[in-house]
Symmetry: D2
Subunit: 341 residues, 4 copies
């Protein structure tokens, strides 16, 4: 078969490992031709493709990013692509397509399959917020990077008797912040699922200092929000350039804690370092298994499905509610993380 | 309550993180006193204990090893301890015990509970071979260390057109070798579950070289065994000192491949570096959650149970078959790993 | 002898390794008593000290930060301390003092020695801007952290055809940015020693894209400055809280490049992660050697001197011009780094 | 100009970074053509070359090993190559040659230059034993890997009250062992420059245990030797396959210490992991600078010279005694390292 593969949406460690695995399994075992589609659905629409051979994927297991590139595409253009699925498939000469992307991409997988371009999906999000799979690749790497940063910040915080506020990725869910916060031993873990009370955070820090501890680490997800009206400073949420990353919750929180506590508080915004670079061993293996099973799914004709991890096994899950339902941090996990404070 | 805690068996990254979590949850939330028992069951038998306070566990999240020490104890002495469970508990002044250890320790947990010393178990094995839990802490760290080593060996192998044989931990199961082998892109993965044919391994390497590849990496578990009679050299399994680690399967395999292929083959025995040092983020979190839930289990009176990970949740599992049944690498995982060759 | 030791100024990986080494050499070899002075010169002035024994320094080799704490002290208070040097020394009961700190601290070392409190200095700056020593501890760790970040940012930049601007430490000198920039293969390296032309930076990026390269990495030191009047946007240099780190040169540069190039440009501000955490092997060894030689210097009576690395040897250098002269990046290093673009 | 480049001798992190830098500087700045010669002098003799363009070196900064390959060549063949230098140069069409290799390669550089093939050398040895340069690239990476291993072994040693013997690279000099041993806080550091007394090592370990310490780490260079007649077991130096790495000094030492002390002693042989994989930031920069200056040397006609680091500057050093003189660990460094015990 001639199988197209594309990567869509934001960067995520493990994308290249999926591509490598698709090529290994497809070409070596099934004798497929793998057609790389450039810049996600944009390349499909514009017919920009290139063959991807066994040699082309050498070294991809450890390489972050995606050799196929990725671009965000407006929903209306994707709708147009769905309407013209058969033609596009014929133009680029593929019998089936493996799409590696987030919720939107997986949903598109079903639409394309229904429209005559058979698609198998591979879920991709560093936020780990897809309900149908125990975990997604890229998440473990993001947590690894964030945890290393917290480990480093701790000694500085302690030496200078400071409060360190580290802002981690997660606009809508707190998985990275919860996990890295627990792994780094953060004393406060603030996530979007649970609006925080700035006064309570300040009290917690004061309790620590009153017990003779010399510092505190607060891990805050970029999407964490205070209880309405509890952050008195309204500026800073978005900076003068309109860039979310410049003056986000991390900066505001540090500023307010310094104001409330009369102690030095410093923000650190990890930003893009969390989503690039060499994947962890765990992410490499998960990405490799997803690619392997996606190729098998194509040959089994399990279109409109995507790969998912259940315990230690890979399952094929039909696209549907499971995709669109956001996996948020449940209450019992809040309790566990508080216990670590 | 006065809760004893002990660590038993081999070193495993995350042991200290469990101890820390037990103290945090027990003392901060339940007002328990935590009694550290030294050198596993030996300390229980000899009454060697010390209180472990909140301050005593500062910094333990990232510290490998166990501050309580660990020692292997003969089964007959443990049997004696079980017979005298009540007395020992009274002597060291504990109401309940949390034992962190492998299969033998978990089994003992049930025996002690039945004998009047209420015990909750926390599973511990870097080999990840306990069936009742999706994964155990320490495993991810071992895989991380092994994968980093394979990453480094690859460039040397390629520069010198060599075969590298890396021997990883796993006497009875191949989880570390399978996972690190896949993560490192090893071309051969040899595990105890699947006796290997040395000729087939040699052919695979020759195929690679005939396809223009300049090197090969073979990941072999220390417990991997050849098909009967296929390794012609019988020496080397045990070295002149009787130490398994000196002349194990890695050395024999490298020697034979060099002999069969007429190419340089070099063994690397990672050994103890796989089981020490700072745990990965994933292992820190799992160990912390196990400790948290073990304390809750004590207060719920769920004795004779142990903590287990199921998907993303921690469950309490009754000690029983689940413990003693060894989780081996299933056949479908062999196929996945072969596809990566 | 009773030897005091204090750490002064900002956090720097290796401070604890110096303290450990001073204790090992002083107590084990010379039978000295080591007196730890808390929070730098503040502790000396306020008489806050504690004995530091061999056991107290266990594990310090790999621990970032300083167990003695550090605080910035106003120059007038240090002047007062110098005037009262003999009294302070008698009050805390020390015969000599080892001060670990930056340029100001080293200068103070001479003043205290002249005033009757014999002091040996150990240079400390992650910026590596002290002329009298080939390198200072902490610098290699900062470069290591910054390089790992650049490695990770590259794959994201390439996947999304972006310009990434990474702001690194260095208010007055560009050593961290030059070294991490070269190590990370940054395409633009902007340092305080060399005012940059924003148009030239934009042209360099456009050249890269015109040659088919899909991304660019700009490493900029926090103290790098544009040629007068070449940055059209004057806001952003300092954010609404007056914190340099919020809206510094990295943010401004990313904003302007996006504006000039019409391509996505994203800033990443590494901040405090560069100055905390476990030191690299190189920094551990340098810090250990400095501590060792500082103790020897005390016993040789080489007061008013500080330890310095010359090639592979440690020398004792008299405090003087060598200290106050800032070691800046020389022109021939600019050329080397440009060649790497 | 048409400049050939070859890598010779054992693998060393940074080789590819030198090649990349030569291409960047040569092609981008001087308009040179860079001719890659495969497998060291073998490729020169057999005329196996390929052009190396700017695109060919993309990603090489972080890649261990050498894309040109390396092979050891018998001295008589190199002598033959020297006799036919002009012809070989004409056949592969190069005006000058940059050789990256160890002492033998540097010596050859002079011979080739005298014989009419102008050569500039770049020193390469992970052992750091070339006297004319403060340090060589690859060394810092080897030390980094070895130190990480010692860090991990410590916790296991402590948990099990064991002696760990870690064997590091260095047949003739102890730089890796001395540096990694100090960085890892090893309690015994045994190097080729200083024959050791097994009884003294055993006493040191017993002293530690008698002071309540629960473990000891011994770092031993593969080339370290006991005082004549002090190791009672004569077997094990070379294993049954004649491979030095199987039953070397690490294994013998662990066996004897166990025998002398009556305590568990375990050997770990790091082996090839020390010489492969991604270079540290420091090695990347040093390799890049060496490549840059080697190209400049070619254009300056400084043939028969090689690049060397002096303090923070790169110098061109004439091949001569400086090369052949082995840089061994001087006595004053022994003292420093003992102080850390």
């Amino acid at each position: 078969m001639r199988i197209g593969v594309l990567t869509s949406g934001g960067d995520c460690p493990g994308l290249n490992a999926v591509i490598r695995s698709v090529v290994h399994r497809g070409t070596d075992v099934h004798g497929d031709e793998i057609v790389g589609i450039e810049d996600g659905f944009l390349g499909l629409i514009e017919g920009r493709t290139r063959p991807v051979s066994h040699d082309d994927v050498t070294g991809l297991l450890t390489l972050g990013g995606t050799i196929l590139g990725s671009a965000r595409v407006r929903r209306d253009r994707i709708a147009w692509a769905v309407d013209n699925a058969r033609t596009l498939a014929r133009d680029v000469g593929i019998d089936a397509l493996i799409t590696i992307g987030g919720e939107g991409t997986l949903t598109a997988a079903k639409m394309f399959s229904d429209a005559g371009l058979p698609v198998v999906g591979v879920p991709k999000t560093i936020d780990n917020d897809i309900d149908a799979t125990d975990v997604t690749f890229g998440f473990d790497t993001a947590v690894h990077v964030a945890t290393e940063a917290i480990d480093r910040l701790k000694t500085t915080a302690e030496s200078h008797q400071r409060v360190m506020v580290v802002e981690l990725m997660g606009r809508h869910t707190g998985w990275i912040t919860l996990t890295a916060g627990m792994a780094g031993g953060a004393h406060g873990i603030l996530i979007p699922e649970k609006p925080f009370d700035i006064e309570a955070v300040a009290r917690m820090v004061e309790d620590r200092f009153s017990r003779g501890k010399k510092f505190a680490i607060i891990a805050v997800a970029e999407g964490a929000a205070p209880l309405p009206g509890t952050l008195r400073f309204d500026h800073g949420a978005v900076d003068q350039y309109g860039h979310q990353t410049f003056g986000g919750i991390g900066n505001r929180l540090a500023h307010e804690l310094e104001d409330l506590l009369g102690k030095e508080a410093r923000p650190v915004i990890l930003g893009h370092t969390q989503r690039g670079g060499t994947p962890t061993a765990r992410d490499r293996v998960l990405a490799t298994r997803f690619g392997w099973h996606a190729v098998e799914a194509v040959h089994q004709g399990a279109f409109g499905h995507f790969t998912a991890l259940r315990r230690n096994d890979i399952r094929l899950v039909p696209v549907g509610d499971a995709v669109t339902r956001l996996k948020t941090v449940p209450k019992d996990r809040w309790a566990e993380s508080e216990a670590v404070l």
